[in-house]
Structure formats: structure tokens, C-alpha cells
């Protein structure tokens, strides 16, 4: 009993991190996955109190929030927490955090930074080779016993020498470019601003990029400007020999239009890790062998989660020791993020 009281006393001295809803890693690894001896978690989702009451009760103790895609940090929440100084999200994406409110309040934000970039880029290359070389479709064919009964599988398309157009040359886009160059692809891109150090051809808009590439890769953030960026005009410019790969966010593509193009054969194929209304996926895609899909798991590797754990815990520990954050997000020059 005495030992328990002692640990309770030292627990209450630890700084508090609020979790509104558990991050995806808790479902996979249990809810002590991101524990640290240097701070404690306040789990709002474990409390019987309605959220606003919970926040009111703990308003003075919450210095930081652990956020994730499914646990947005809105202006309303921020305003209920006067001592909030830090938001750490387990994701690379930031569209679920009210960044301008954070900037106003001087609240620091840390993300998964670039730890997922390699896995995302690997997914892009994997999906692209799969679509062009029909790996998933041919694997199905063989495993259904059709090779011996029906014979030769239809030919795929060569990746080498193809023109790759990257939408968004950030950390992920750069990793994609580096990989695909080794396959003999030529790289071009469109980004909000031209990158003077990037040795690739810049196109000032996505339609021109699409018209000049064979594979269009979506690697940009979802913002008000990029919502339905890939529309009928872009898909038409990409054309019937073009392939599209999306590992960014579903709403960047006009999904209805994409489905229509794929069904009608107006583009060659697609590799999609994200959709407009996950986990709902347009059923028309299930009929198509030139589409490869994955359940928004481009970053879901064991290794990335180990890295994420170290990064998230490291960010909180740095913050509470008054040391620089490991993966801070620059809050100046913010685009408007979609909710």
C-alpha cells in the first residue's frame, strides 16, 4: 500500500499529456506503447465525463496533447486549455490540427517529420511496378491455378524510361524521385514553389505535368488548394497510357471522375492507398485488374512504428526538459488546411 501511495505521489508530479482518442498504434501495440517515466497521459477517452467537462476539470494540468488523424485538435479544444504549449501528432499529415490557432497561441507543433517518407516512397514504387507489371493480378491468376489451365498471362508495360511526374516535391516526393531515377525514369514535378536545388523539370501546373508524364504520383499535402486537384482535366491530360499513384490523401483526387476514367479505359491504371471516404472504396474498382489498392497502410511497418515511438516520446521528453523538439513543424507561411 505504501509503495502504491508513493508511486501515486510521484505520478501526480509528472507533467500531463492529453490524449483525446487513442492513436492507431495503441490498437496495434497496447496503450502503454508511448509511455515514458518523464510524463503521464490523461486519457479523455477513458473518462466517463463528457469531453468538455473533462477538459474543464484538467484545464490547468494539460501542457501538451498527443494527437493523430482520428483525434483532431480544433480551435475549440485549444481555447479550453490555457496551459497548452505543445501538440505532437503521430502522423506526417497536419490537416487535422488547427495550425493557425496554434500559431496565434504560440503553441509548438511536432509531427512524425520524415520518418515515414521512406516507407511511403517504397509504397509508391511498389504500387507503380505492380500496376505496370500486373503483379497483384498475375499473382491472383497463378494462385487460382489459371496458369496451367489458361496459359500465358497478358504482357505488362516497361517501367524503365517512363516519365514520372511528382505532385509535391517534399520529403516523400524527393524519396520517390531518388528511387525511380535508379529505374531509368525521368523525373518532373509540380510544387507550390519551384525548388531551385532539385535537378528535375518543373511544370507550373498539374495539367502540364500530367500531359508530359506517363506516371503521375501524388505526394502533396491535402489543403484547400489541393482538394480535387486531380480532376477531369488532369486525368484527360494524363491520357490512356498514363498511370496514377496516390499515397497522399483521397480527397486530392476527384474520385468519381477517376473511377469513370478507369472503368472506361481512359487511363492505363491506378495504385491507390487512400480514398475519399475511407474505408469505403468504390466497388467498380474491384472489377479492374489494372487497379491496385491498399488500406491506407503505406506507413504501417513494424520499423516505422518503432521509429515513431522513439520520436513521439523523444519530442515530449525534450519539451518537458526545455530542450529543442526533435521534429518541430514551422508554423510560418501556412497554407489553409482542409478540415
Amino acid at each position: 500500500m505504501a509503495a502504491e501511495n508513493q508511486s501515486q505521489t510521484s505520478q501526480s508530479d509528472l507533467p500531463c499529456v492529453l490524449i483525446l482518442k487513442p492513436p492507431p498504434s495503441f490498437a496495434l501495440f497496447g496503450d502503454h506503447f508511448l509511455d515514458s517515466p518523464k510524463f503521464q497521459y490523461l486519457k479523455a477517452y477513458e473518462s466517463p465525463l463528457p469531453l468538455s467537462q473533462f477538459l474543464h476539470t484538467h484545464a490547468q494540468s494539460v501542457q501538451a496533447i498527443l494527437s493523430s488523424g482520428g483525434a483532431p485538435v480544433t480551435a475549440d479544444t485549444i481555447r479550453l486549455l490555457p496551459r497548452l504549449d505543445l501538440v505532437v501528432t503521430t502522423s506526417q499529415g497536419l490537416n487535422h490540427i488547427d495550425l493557425s490557432e496554434c500559431r496565434c497561441r504560440g503553441i509548438a507543433v511536432a509531427s512524425a517529420g520524415t520518418i515515414f517518407s521512406a516507407d511511403c516512397a517504397d509504397s509508391v514504387v511498389g504500387l507503380l511496378i505492380d500496376v505496370l507489371r500486373k503483379i497483384s493480378a498475375a499473382n491472383r491468376y497463378v494462385k487460382q491455378g489459371l496458369w496451367s489451365s489458361q496459359g500465358v498471362y497478358p504482357l505488362g508495360y516497361k517501367l524503365g524510361g517512363k516519365r514520372v511526374g511528382i505532385v509535391g516535391l517534399g520529403s516523400i516526393g524527393t524519396e520517390v524521385a531518388k528511387r525511380l531515377e535508379a529505374f531509368g525514369c525521368s523525373i518532373s514535378y509540380n510544387s507550390r514553389t519551384k525548388k531551385p536545388l532539385a535537378p528535375y523539370t518543373f511544370y507550373p501546373n498539374v495539367v502540364q505535368l500530367a500531359a508530359n508524364c506517363d506516371a503521375l504520383i501524388i505526394c502533396c499535402a491535402l489543403t484547400d488548394e489541393t482538394h480535387h486537384l486531380i480532376n477531369k482535366e488532369v486525368l484527360s491530360a494524363l491520357g490512356k497510357d498514363g498511370v496514377i499513384i496516390n499515397i497522399a490523401r483521397g480527397p486530392i483526387i476527384d474520385e468519381k471522375e477517376l473511377v469513370r476514367c478507369l472503368v472506361k479505359g481512359e487511363i492505363r491504371g491506378a495504385g491507390l492507398d487512400v480514398f475519399e471516404h475511407e474505408p469505403d472504396v468504390p466497388v467498380e474498382l474491384f472489377e479492374l485488374d489494372n487497379v491496385v489498392m491498399s488500406p491506407h497502410n503505406a506507413v504501417f511497418t513494424w520499423e516505422s512504428f518503432e521509429d515513431l515511438c522513439k520520436l513521439v516520446v523523444g519530442n515530449f521528453e525534450a519539451f518537458f526538459s526545455n530542450e529543442p523538439l526533435l521534429s518541430p513543424v514551422a508554423l510560418d507561411h501556412l497554407p489553409q488546411f482542409s478540415g
Binding site: D119, D122, G126, D130, K143, G145, P295
Partner: protein, 313 residues
């Protein structure tokens, strides 16, 4: 050249078949009901054989065709051709190197990604509607994994170049060490297997390399190791591989070739860490056309008494 008899060993490419038909007197061996009678009755007119990875020119066929001058293979692999016999009889042999190197290397990397990141299984998961119920399980990161390559020829080097872009440390085994190559050399396949995460077979099939992937190598590669075969089926002791995968003693496999194509061991069909392809290493529209043109170019050069484009013998 229309009177020159050319024997095509099996169906391999409609465009090639069409062009051979136009330029020569083409005999389609697979349509012949009695093969030995056919060979006897055509022994004076057949001057060329066109083969591929499935069928070529073995000793029996070569002996039956005394007028045979050239064997042109629609493949880079030569394991279906009795090279010694061809040398002995002064028969020229050509293959299709270089034009298919990139496609085969691309497929090797595609298989690595498909196996480690469970791309085919993820696609299946979405199509089955299971995503609505829950997330798919975690997969294994590819970037940074140690890649071991057996055979550092054109295809092996192309695989290494691609894997390096994913920060994969490269090591290799080949008949002799290549001092100019910066990758780590292992003098035996077992040692290579013990020191890599992904083992790729990229060497040619010869007497020495048959079953180069045996029980010992599979054990060394281990329960977290992945085997990729884009070489030839007989490189692998297939029953050993199948039991290792079924018993989970090997972490996974990506296979484009099998010992008795198109037969594939059915025990592999239900395994989510195995990706199976129907020998499509060079199977792209672009590359098959380039290969066909090379076969046609070699035959034309030979019969016009010009230097062969890609001679082996």
C-alpha cells in the same frame, strides 16, 4: 529467304511468329502431331531453330537436323540449348541480352516490395471488404534491408543499382570475386544467405547452379529471410522451398519461375508471404518487341552472311 526452313519450338510471341512466317518457311513445332516423324521428313530444309526459356534445341533435336545452322533464342537464358553440341557441330547460337535486363531487374524489386509490404495481400484485403471491419496488419519495411545477389551479371548489377536507391546494403556471390565491384563478396551461397535479409537468384542455370538454393541455404536465410527467384526454376530445390515456407522456417518468397512450369506447387497458393508470377520477367510489350526484333535481326544477319548481333556460340 522464303525457302529457308525455320522451326519455332513453342508459341512465344505473335509478332515474332508473324514476321518469321513472312520472311521464312515457318514450322510451328507445337502444332506437329508426330514430332519425330516431322523432324525426319524436314531434316533437309530446317536451317534455323527459334527457342525460348521453355523449349530450345536439345541434343536429340540437333542430331535430327543435319542442316541446322543457327539456334536463335527468344530469351537470355540458354539452359534449354545443348551448347556443347552446337559448338561441336559449328551451329551458331544467339540470345537476347541487354534488352530485357531492366524489366527483369524491375520485377525483382517489385517482388521484394510485394512480399515485404504484402502488396498483393493488401489489395486482396481491400477487395474483400475487410477494411470496413479493421485495419490490415503491419508489414516489413524494405528500405535499408540487406540484399544478397547470386550472380552479378547484367541483371544482378541492375538489381543492385535499384536496391541501392532504397539504401539497401548489397552483397553478392558469383563464380569469381569481382575486385572492381564495391559490394561485399561472400565465397559461398550459405554465407551470403546468412548475412542478408533478401536473397535474389540472378545467375544463369548450369550444371553447377542447379539447386543452388538448397536446404542449407534456406536454413541460413532463415525465418525472417526472403527468397526472390527471377532466374530459372531449377535453381531452387522446390520441394525443400515449399516445406520451408509451409512450416514457416523461411520468412517469404517472390517467385517468377518454377521447376515444372506452368505447374506451381499448390501448397503455396494459400500463403500470404508468397507472391507467385507466371514467368513474366521480360513480359512487357516494349521488351518482347525488342527481343523479337533481336531474334529476327540475328537470323537475317546470319543468312545474309553478316556478323551476328548477339552471338553466344
Amino acid at each position: 529467304m522464303e525457302s529457308i526452313g525455320v522451326l519455332m519450338a513453342c508459341p512465344m510471341n505473335p509478332y515474332l511468329e508473324q514476321e518469321l512466317d513472312k520472311r521464312f518457311t515457318l514450322h510451328r513445332f507445337w502444332k506437329v502431331p508426330d514430332k519425330s516423324t516431322f523432324l525426319t521428313s524436314h531434316s533437309n530444309s530446317i536451317r534455323a531453330v527459334v527457342g525460348n526459356a521453355s523449349a530450345g534445341a536439345d541434343s536429340q533435336m540437333i542430331e535430327a537436323l543435319p542442316k541446322l545452322e543457327i539456334v536463335a533464342s527468344f530469351s537470355v537464358g540458354l539452359d534449354k540449348i545443348d551448347l556443347a553440341k552446337c559448338k561441336e557441330k559449328g551451329i551458331r547460337v544467339t540470345n537476347t541480352p541487354d534488352v530485357l535486363t531492366e524489366d527483369v531487374a524491375d520485377l525483382a524489386i517489385g517482388l521484394m516490395l510485394a512480399v515485404l509490404r504484402k502488396l498483393c495481400e493488401s489489395d486482396r484485403y481491400v477487395r474483400s471488404g475487410k477494411w470496413k471491419i479493421g485495419n490490415y496488419s503491419l508489414t516489413t519495411k524494405f528500405t535499408g534491408k540487406r540484399v544478397g545477389i547470386i550472380g552479378l551479371g547484367r541483371i544482378g548489377m541492375a538489381i543492385a543499382k535499384r536496391a541501392e536507391a532504397f539504401s539497401c546494403p548489397i552483397s553478392y556471390h558469383s563464380r569469381t570475386e569481382k575486385p572492381e565491384i564495391k559490394y561485399k563478396y561472400y565465397p559461398s551461397v550459405v554465407e551470403l544467405a546468412a548475412n542478408c535479409d533478401i536473397l535474389v537468384v540472378a545467375c544463369s542455370l548450369t550444371e553447377e547452379t542447379r539447386h543452388i538454393i538448397n536446404r542449407k541455404v534456406i536454413d541460413a536465410l532463415g525465418a525472417k529471410g526472403v527468397l526472390i527467384n527471377i532466374g530459372r526454376g531449377p535453381h531452387v530445390d522446390e520441394p525443400e522451398l515449399v516445406s520451408a515456407l509451409v512450416e514457416r522456417r523461411l520468412g517469404g518468397a517472390g517467385l517468377d519461375v518454377f521447376e515444372h512450369e506452368p505447374e506451381v506447387p499448390e501448397e503455396l497458393f494459400g500463403l500470404d508471404n508468397v507472391v507467385l508470377l507466371p514467368h513474366v520477367g521480360s513480359g512487357t510489350v516494349e521488351t518482347r518487341k525488342a527481343m523479337a526484333d533481336l531474334v529476327l535481326g540475328n537470323l537475317e544477319a546470319h543468312f545474309l552472311k553478316k556478323p551476328l548481333l548477339t552471338p553466344v556460340v
